[in-house]
């Protein structure tokens, strides 16, 4: 927490603000992945286990990207019948425009929001104040893509951006309120994840005109310390991301950190950006440390993955991640 408040720390922390749950922890507690998203006790055990088993310096809930969409009426597929491990995805999207988006009156009991709330409280009971508890909520454009057909959303945002703007405005208020519920439950830091705003798909001009105003409004009202994360090619929009007002910006492996550091200056807190799939999940243990050190040399302030960890990270790669800083 000292780190995110801009205070001096003895070394860069090793943590994340996005989904991080790994199989060794799930297996230790006999947790089935498809169940962990709906049971607060299992969720807390899996999140807290990252610190207890590996020393990863945070506990973050939830793990999937469907909590807010489900609270807004989308139907989820948890893949209960699938052997092995798949992240839940949205099965049915019911929203076509801002007019038929219904914001639940009682957020504390909407969808799985109470599951996350209970998990945060359980983590606090279990971990005390030794470990920072993080949580995340999707940004308005990404969330719009979880409640409205993605293709339709993009087409509308290209051709009738004012209609998309109305939807984003409505979602923005909801997002702030969800963050506040998590803050009340005891979360310490808050990541706003706007993956859909990436320049891989949206032009920097569209990001600036359509998405940035809503992110700015949300970040002004949501709890702090706050982190704004966007995946993909973000170098063209990194200055706009910083102007949105988060305490830190988070980027993935496609971002050139050196360029980002140059643009944002020495005081900005930049998080990222080693590749959690190519390096941590699929890579060799010997390559994890160098990838982490490259991020730090490039200008990142912490050891922080560029996205969610894929749960089947080999134990030796997690160990390599945790020992990477010994070489610093």
């Amino acid at each position: 927490m000292k780190f995110l408040k801009g205070e001096n720390v003895d070394r860069p922390p090793i943590f994340s603000g996005m989904g991080n749950v790994v199989k060794p922890v799930l297996d230790k507690h006999g947790i089935i992945f498809s169940k962990v998203h709906r049971d607060p006790e299992l969720m807390a055990k899996a999140a807290g286990g990252m610190y207890k088993e590996f020393g990863f310096e945070c506990a973050v809930v939830p793990f999937d990207l469907g909590v807010e969409a489900e609270a807004l009426g989308s139907r989820m597929n948890y893949y209960d019948e699938v052997e092995g491990l798949l992240y839940p995805t949205v099965k049915e999207k019911r929203v076509t425009s801002a007019d038929d988006l219904v914001i639940p009156k009682d957020l504390r009991n909407a969808g799985r929001i109470p599951v996350v709330v209970k998990a945060i409280k359980a983590l606090r009971r279990d971990l005390g104040n030794h470990v920072a508890i993080g949580t995340y909520v999707l940004g308005p454009f990404t969330l719009a893509g979880q409640v409205k057909e993605l293709d339709r959303l993009f087409e509308e945002s290209f051709l009738e951006p004012e209609k998309t703007g109305k939807l984003l405005e409505k979602l923005s208020g909801f997002i702030v309120d969800v963050f506040k519920v998590y803050q009340e439950a005891g979360a310490d830091y808050f990541t706003l994840r706007e993956m859909g705003g990436t320049s891989d798909v949206m032009s920097p001009r569209s990001f600036k005109s359509l998405i940035k105003p809503h992110l700015t409004k949300i970040l002004a009202e949501m709890p702090r310390p706050s982190i704004l994360h966007i995946c993909g090619d973000t170098n063209a929009i990194i200055a706009d991301m910083a102007e949105c007002g988060a305490d830190a910006v988070s980027v993935d492996h496609k971002n050139c950190l050196a360029e980002t550091r140059q643009k944002l200056g020495p005081k900005a807190i930049i998080l990222g950006n080693f590749d959690p799939i190519k390096v941590l999940h699929k890579g060799a243990a010997k390559d994890v440390g160098p990838a982490v050190l490259d991020s730090l040399k490039g200008g990142a302030n912490a050891v922080w993955p560029g996205c969610d960890l894929w749960p089947e990270v080999p134990k030796e790669n997690m160990d390599a991640l945790m020992s990477a800083l010994i070489k610093v």
Partner: protein, 205 residues
């Protein structure tokens, strides 16, 4: 297991083409699996699936992130272990950039006998002007075309020969290296030609 990607902007005819191609390839004896964003939107009934031995799975579209990439990788692992299809046809969302999917397939290839085949990007000739005029739309469509090894000019039954030629010139300007094939799933034009290229096409992932 050869992976063929059929991408293209919303409404370019991906799903219809995939069904038509799958039937042709399965009719030739190949075992086909189809990965789509949403099984519910694939207009294939159980009888057709059984007749042609098609396996259809969803890769859970929605937001763009590592979780979707991980799910795709895991689904390819499962297909390789349990179904062992000859060809897997992937239909991503209309806003997907093919290169990102190819990178995920390359990671799955480390564990399985997976070979990246053609990346077919469809370009709707009946909406050519719209797709390449609006600034924001043009950017995405161009990104998709740039990643193609074959560009399918779709819905050519709806346009004139001059319009096909103009569309062909426009896409070649973006990606001169790709092969360009005119396609109509209504008349069947181009389908045989396209299906013939799928089994042999091997491209570095």
């Amino acid at each position: 297991m050869k992976i063929v990607l059929i991408a293209g902007y919303l409404g370019s005819g991906k799903t219809t083409l995939i069904i038509a191609l799958s039937k042709k390839l399965a009719g030739g004896g190949a075992k086909i699996a189809i990965l789509v964003n949403d099984v519910g939107v694939v207009p294939v009934d159980g009888a057709v699936m059984q007749e042609y031995g098609l396996t259809v799975k969803d890769i859970g579209g929605g937001c763009i992130c590592c979780q979707v990439a991980g799910n795709l990788m895991k689904t390819l692992d499962t297909l390789a272990a349990n179904v062992r299809p000859d060809i897997v046809i992937i239909e991503p969302t209309g806003i997907a950039v093919p290169d990102a999917i190819r990178q995920t397939v390359a990671l799955a290839a480390r564990k399985n006998e997976v070979e990246m085949g053609h990346t077919i990007v469809l370009f709707d000739t009946s909406r050519a002007a719209k797709l390449l005029t609006y600034d924001t739309l043009k950017r995405l469509v161009s990104l998709q075309i740039r990643d193609a090894t074959i560009i399918g000019l779709s819905k050519i039954d709806l346009v004139t020969a001059e319009e096909i030629e103009a569309a062909s010139l426009a896409v070649r300007e973006i990606n001169p290296a790709a092969e360009v094939i005119g396609i109509s799933t209504i008349t069947g034009e181009g389908l045989l030609s396209l299906a013939g290229r799928i089994p042999d096409g091997a491209v570095a992932a």
